[in-house]
Amino acid sequence: MMPLVAAGSTAVLHNALLVGAILFALGLVGILTRRNLIVMFLSAELMLQGISVSLVAWSRHHGDFGGQVLVIFVLTVAACEAAVALVFVLQAFARTGRLDAAAWQELREATLARTVDHALPASDAVPPRWPRLSTAGVVPPGADESPLEREHV
């Protein structure tokens, strides 16, 4: 079937660039607002993918494969970077036991207090109390705690 638009036309370019820009913007906003370290990394990857889409779009527009070759590079590098980043995330978790970016505030001004987010759940000092089920469907004591909140991932 005949394409409705030509392959190198500007409408395709515009749309592809728009998609790339949306991906990039979403990734940017994600880095800035999400506190989970893994989700922040995910957003960074998203930014990379947005750039890749833009590169492919420009490559198709100019008829030059250089852009698409660069995208292959970007994918490769993103994979390596993912490995390194996840090692970093693991180390961060091992030190604080949390995946919260707000846990790292030691490099602030000495006169300022820690920024404490009061919407956070209670600290890890209190050990979680998991429900203990009895053998025959009897409701265990203390079952009125809300099981939906948990401090640990």
Binding site: L32, T111, L112, T115
Partner: protein, 757 residues
């Protein structure tokens, strides 16, 4: 043998003490107890040179030839060291004024403008030679005395350095031949006086006394500055001597022989009187006359040798020197002359009255100095040659006996453990015979007892006052015609110098020297004071002062040296005669105190010698020369006054305990008045000191609360700004990333906005 020129010798007199001062400053720490050596060597060498100069100048002047002598030719030598400042074309005087250059066309051409030129020029004439000899010789004697007196003082090198510096400054002051140079060294002696009065600066009274001396002197210096400005505007030059301009015309100096020989050379009237009154103010400040006398009694806080040199013999005579040097200027303004005499005689009387009730030996001598200086001013103010030479004669004898008295007081103080209140010791002639004997010699000279030196000089002063009050009493020829024509025709003599133009001799009349005869207002009032009645009053004041002088002097002598022997506890083991290094200077000074007056008077050497000074050979002054006869009636009056004073002092104090009943019984409230120094200090304190302190307090508060707050506020601004920016550093990674992204967004939006249009 190679002849040393007088110019070199003249430079050596101030230079050697200066070198001594510099060496003492540099090496004082190293030399410690030998720190006096450079200073003593410098002053001794300068004294020798000064004596040589004195003898050389005396040889030039020649010996007096008898009663009706030939009028003396002026003797002077000018030696210009270097040109300090020159500003070409600084001032174009109005044509025909005293400042215009003689021989230039009337009409304001370029050649008629005068250059502001200050050469560092020294002059040698009889007045300078006399004073240089006095300064250096008495300086030497006092310096030797100080070796003993200041022996244990930790500031020993500093004392000799400042002492030597003072001798240098004073020598330059009397040798300078330019008003600005005189002003420089006028200030310099004031500064050295400050350093010496405040020598023990950790003592609050001494520091305050030094400050007071300097500030009161400053008022006088203001007078000298104004006088200098007026002299520049009036005469177009500040030199005393005549100088040669590059194209050969003679620029007359203010006191140069060209101007003095010219009958209309000196400006009188209002301007002249203003100049003379400003010079009088300067002299009052330096010589401690009313109303600027308040610093001298407080200056006794300094070491006694400093008092002996500076406040008895040398610095306080700078005022006398200034008025004597500018004699032709004063003679042209009779009102100013009368003012000088009135100030002098009043000061003499008031100071003598205050001295009668003082209990501190040094204070008695300080007021005595003020009183004797008043005598000298009274004599200067008569405007006659006799008056001027009598004042210098009294200056010379006073230098000797007052230095002797001060050193004697220092000797007493040294052995009494720094106690100088006469009521606390007595009968010291047994313990300190040499001091007692020399002090007695000085006291007899001060009281004016014949044949000691003070008698002759005081007699001459009384004679000059008497001659003005009763002009025809002794048949003197004041305006003798033969003398005037001789004085005008004799060509002046120079050792090294310039030839004067051949000015035609004119018969001069003293009154013709007044520039514009119409004197109105204040000047006319002052001129009107010059009546015989005024002089008669001044004569009686001087006679009364003579009696009081004898009284307070011998009161001090009797309280200190006679009566039962009493020694205060502070004396300890000190209560013995002074060591030879202190006693020998006393004996050295006692000799001229005893015989100098008789010797100088009988040979008439000093008056003849001084009359060769160019200032005194001016026809206006020289025509008043009178034959020197010994006025027996005046001598009797003076001696009677002195005798009465001594007898009253003996009745009250001879042989009694010195802390016995004082004169409060007789004087009552007057005693309190004089003991509080006529409340002048309190008056000045209320009029000047308190308002100034209040002003200073306001300034201090303004400085502390407004200016300091402003500066500190400016300092706090960056800190505050930083405090605001610091709130951004919270340590949260995402906040930092957000900041970066906001920045990038701003740049991108700005670029997009630019590229849009």
């Amino acid at each position: 043998m190679q002849q040393v020129s007088p110019a070199t010798l003249l430079v050596l007199v101030p230079l050697l003490p200066l070198v001594g001062a510099v060496l003492t400053l540099l090496l004082g720490r190293r030399l410690r107890s030998q720190a006096h050596l450079p200073a003593i060597a410098g002053i001794a060498a300068a004294a020798a040179v000064a004596v040589v100069l004195l003898l050389g100048t005396a040889a030039q002047v020649g010996r007096p030839d008898g009663i009706h002598a030939e009028p003396v030719r002026p003797v002077e030598m000018i030696s210009t060291l270097w040109q300090w400042a020159t500003v070409d074309g600084a001032y174009t005087p109005p044509p025909g004024s005293a400042a215009s250059i003689p021989g230039t066309a009337v009409g304001g051409t370029a050649g008629a403008s005068r250059a502001f030129s200050i050469p560092v020029a020294l002059r040698l004439d009889p007045l300078t030679a006399t004073l240089l000899a006095i300064i250096t010789c008495i300086g030497l004697v006092v310096a030797v005395y100080s070796i003993g007196y200041m022996h244990h003082d930790p500031g020993y090198p500093r004392f000799f350095a400042v002492f030597s510096l003072f001798v240098f400054s004073m020598s330059m002051l009397v040798a300078a031949s330019n008003f600005l140079i005189v002003y420089v060294f006028w200030e310099a002696v004031g500064a050295c006086s400050y350093l010496l009065i405040g020598f023990w600066f950790r003592k609050p009274e001494a520091a305050r006394a030094a400050k007071k001396a300097f500030l009161v002197n400053r008022v006088g210096d203001f007078g000298l500055a104004i006088a200098t400005f007026l002299l520049w505007m009036t005469y177009g030059t500040l030199d005393f001597h005549d100088t040669l301009s590059p194209d050969g015309t003679i620029l007359p100096g203010i006191l140069g022989q060209t101007r003095l020989a010219d009958s209309s050379g000196i400006v009188g009237g209002a301007v002249g009187t203003a100049i003379c009154l400003c010079l009088l103010l300067a002299a009052c400040g330096k010589s401690a006359q009313l109303p600027l006398h308040v610093w001298l009694p407080d200056a006794m806080e300094g070491p006694t040798p400093a008092s002996a040199l500076i406040h008895a013999a040398t610095m306080v005579t700078a005022g006398i020197y200034l008025v004597a040097r500018t004699a032709p200027l004063f003679v042209a303004c009779p009102g100013a002359l009368t003012a000088v005499s009135i100030v002098g005689a009043t000061t003499a009387l008031v100071a003598a009255l205050i001295a009668t009730v003082q209990n501190d030996l040094k204070r008695v001598l300080a007021y005595s100095t003020i009183s004797q200086l008043g005598y000298m001013f009274a004599s200067l103010g008569t405007g006659t040659l006799l008056g001027f030479t009598a004042a210098i004669f009294h200056l010379v004898t006073h230098a000797f006996f007052k230095a002797l008295l001060f050193l004697g007081a220092g000797s007493v103080m040294h052995s009494m453990g720094n106690v100088i209140d006469m009521r606390r010791f007595g009968g010291l002639y047994r313990i300190m015979p040499v001091t007692a004997a020399t002090f007695l010699v000085g006291a007899l000279a001060l009281a004016g007892v014949a044949p000691f030196s003070g008698f002759f000089s005081k007699d001459e002063i009384l004679a000059s006052l008497h001659g003005k009050g009763w002009p025809h009493a002794h048949g003197e020829h004041h305006d003798a015609a033969p003398a005037s024509s001789h004085a005008a025709t004799t060509p002046p003599l120079h050792l090294v110098g310039l030839r004067t133009s051949a000015t035609e001799p004119r018969a001069v009349d003293r009154r013709a020297l007044i520039g514009d005869g119409s004197a109105s207002g204040a000047v006319g009032w002052l001129d009107g004071l010059d009546t015989p009645a005024t002089w008669q009053v001044l004569f009686w004041m001087a006679l009364l002062t003579a009696g009081l002088t004898a009284f307070y002097t011998f009161r001090a002598v009797f309280m200190t040296f006679t009566g039962p022997a009493r020694v205060p506890e502070e004396a300890g083991h000190h209560a013995h005669e002074s060591p030879p290094v202190m006693a020998v200077p006393l004996m050295i000074l006692a000799v001229p105190s005893a015989i100098a007056g008789w010797w100088l008077f009988s040979t008439q050497w000093l008056s003849h010698f001084l009359s060769a000074t160019p200032s005194f050979t001016a026809p206006a002054v020289a025509t008043t020369a009178a034959p020197h006869t010994f006025h027996m009636d005046l001598a009797i009056q003076g001696s009677l006054a002195a005798a009465i004073g001594i007898v009253i002092a003996a009745i009250g104090h001879l042989g009694r305990r010195s802390d016995g009943p004082q004169m409060e019984r007789f004087l009552g409230p007057l005693h309190t008045f004089f003991a509080n120094r006529c409340y002048i200090d309190q008056l000045y304190s209320g009029l000047f000191v308190r308002p100034l302190e209040a002003l200073a307090l306001v300034a201090a508060l303004f400085d502390r609360h407004v200016i300091d707050r402003l500066v500190n506020g400016v300092a706090r601004l960056p800190v505050a700004l930083g405090g605001v920016v610091r709130l951004l550093q919270v340590g949260l990674l995402q906040r930092y990333a957000l900041a970066g992204v906001m920045g990038v967004l701003t740049i991108v939006l700005a670029l997009a906005w630019r590229l849009r249009g």
